[in-house]
């Protein structure tokens, strides 16, 4: 198992940040989601060995999170959210510098720096001073320094923040390649749900310090409910009330489309029957794909 934690508890004074978190992750790409204050940062801090849990235990890549923090940081790669670099360095020096700090011999670190810079698409600008880099280049550089010591597990914190659509697409393409073809596991913490959906097969959703949902994204979406989109004509109030009584969750979008989340054991024909009873015309009805956003909203209790 790459990440295995049991019953983690952690408090900042009186504020409980994590409460009974248990994870057993071995998938190649995992999304870590949660609203602000859900405990994502605390969990990452514990997994990287910066905080020791009040209760519970765990291992990252087989190293104990309480005893072998230094070994964990030697064998994982961490890509911070913030724009970070060292002025006065070029990309090769920068990347090899962090390779050395991870424990690589100097010559090897230099060689690897060239390789990973080529891989992330910075081969042409690798001798330029980092101060002259664009936001997109800095983001790729951060990814390069994360990869230089060939980690088995990457923690990526908001890897696409502040990128334009093209830059975002390129970084996601890289992350997807890393997780699917390079045998490196990736844990992505992000608020941009479509990014997670594009890259990860599995997701962990935290809310108020607890696991709100975890598992394979497609299964999580399927098992919980089915989603239908419809447009209606007529006085729909009573119709909607009846749908709610039937156990459906209704969401109205800005363009007057009603999203109906229905339990899998219910028959969608019930919707038409109710509409007929209430003399409501259904003018548009499609079975929709529920998005990760829907799942996230449901898991953290946001309607």
């Amino acid at each position: 198992m790459s990440i295995e934690v049991n019953d983690l508890h952690f408090s900042y004074g009186k504020v409980k940040a994590l409460s009974g978190v248990g994870l057993d992750l071995e998938e190649q790409a995992i999304g870590l989601l949660g609203p602000n204050g859900a405990g994502k940062s605390t969990l990452l801090r514990i997994l990287l060995g910066f905080l020791s849990p009040d209760e519970g235990e765990g291992k990252v890549l087989g190293y104990d999170i309480k005893e072998q923090q230094s070994l964990i940081r030697r064998h994982v790669g961490y890509m911070p959210e913030d724009d970070c670099f060292i002025p006065g360095m070029d990309a090769v020096t920068f990347t090899s510098y962090f390779g050395e700090l991870s424990g690589m011999p100097r010559q090897e670190a230099m060689k690897r720096a060239h390789e990973v810079l080529y891989y992330v698409g910075l081969e042409e600008g690798r001798y330029r001073l980092l101060e002259t880099y664009s936001v997109g280049m800095k983001q790729r550089l951060k990814l390069a320094q994360t990869l230089v010591h060939d980690p088995k597990l990457l923690f990526l914190d908001e890897p696409t923040s502040s990128l334009d659509p093209q830059g975002r697409k390129e970084i996601l393409e890289l992350i997807k390649d890393i997780s699917s073809k390079k045998d490196i596991q990736v844990l992505i913490s992000s608020h941009i749900l479509p990014d997670i959906e594009a890259v990860c097969s599995h997701v962990v959703i935290l809310n108020k310090g607890q696991i709100a949902a975890q598992g394979e994204i497609s299964k999580l979406k399927e098992l919980k409910y089915r989603l239908y989109e419809m447009k209606v004509k007529g006085e729909a109030q009573s119709f909607l009330e009846k749908l709610k009584k039937m156990g459906c969750r209704i969401e109205a979008t800005e363009d007057m489309i009603l999203k109906v989340y229905m339990r899998p054991n219910k028959n969608p024909q019930e919707i038409f029957r109710l509409a007929s009873e209430e003399r409501i015309q259904i003018r548009h009805f499609v079975k929709s794909q529920s998005t990760l956003e829907d799942l996230f909203a449901k898991a953290v209790g946001v309607d």
Partner: protein, 289 residues
Amino acid sequence: MTIKEKGYSHWEGELAEKKLPWWPITRFGIRSTFRKKFFKFFFFGALLPAVVFLVGIYISERLEDFRFMIRNQTNFLTVDPGYFKSYFTGDFLLFMMVAILVFCGSGLISDDLKHNSLQLYFSRPLKKGQYFLGKASVIFFFLFLVTLVPGLVFFIMKLIFAGNFKFFASYPWLPLSIIGYSVLVTLFFALYTLFLSSLSKNRRYVSILIFAVYIFSDIIFGIFYGIFRSPYFALISLKVNLQQIGAFIFNQKLPYSIPWIYSFLIIFSISLLAAVYLKNKVKEVTIIK
């Protein structure tokens, strides 16, 4: 951008704990300091007193050859612990050391704070103490080159020029004094600089602070001393405190009639406060926001 399939392959080597994990930080710090405009000018300027004192040691052993130059001022060329004290506590050398600190030390932490580099350092197997040691070693390197190294060279050259061990027999404790004072002044300046460097994200402000605190502490002492004539105001001045300690270590008369231990306590307290502040200012856990 296309993904370069050939560009990534797994590394066959093994990551290992190094004996000096902080050394890459020091090496980069030294290199980047040498690349700075005017640094070499100041650095070689700081070595000038060493050259002058070394020539003085040579002349002291060849007085007969140089009598036409020095006439009756032979006292000037008496090489004894006082001679070493004059080198180490000279105003010019201390000033040049502060100038070196501006070049090599002002950005050591402030640049990392400004560009969020701490996150990158501490996501590696690097402890906070190792990070500070790597940064402080940049200062150790440059200051030892103008204190410890010349001091020991003076001592060795004195023995070589004299051709005997009489000087060593007279002052066997002198090498320890050289090492002791060099370590003390370097350690103090390293903590002083790292502390000021951690106060701001702007290295220019830090540069000004490094100079200003040193110069103004001396100016304020001068003003108060001029008005009240009390030697205790010397405790305000960083420079005078270092000179008091230097005089004690080299077994010379103190420049001001106050106990040297007061100056030592002042320097020690400043160093301690700086160390405590640094410990609390830089926290590994904050790398994940």
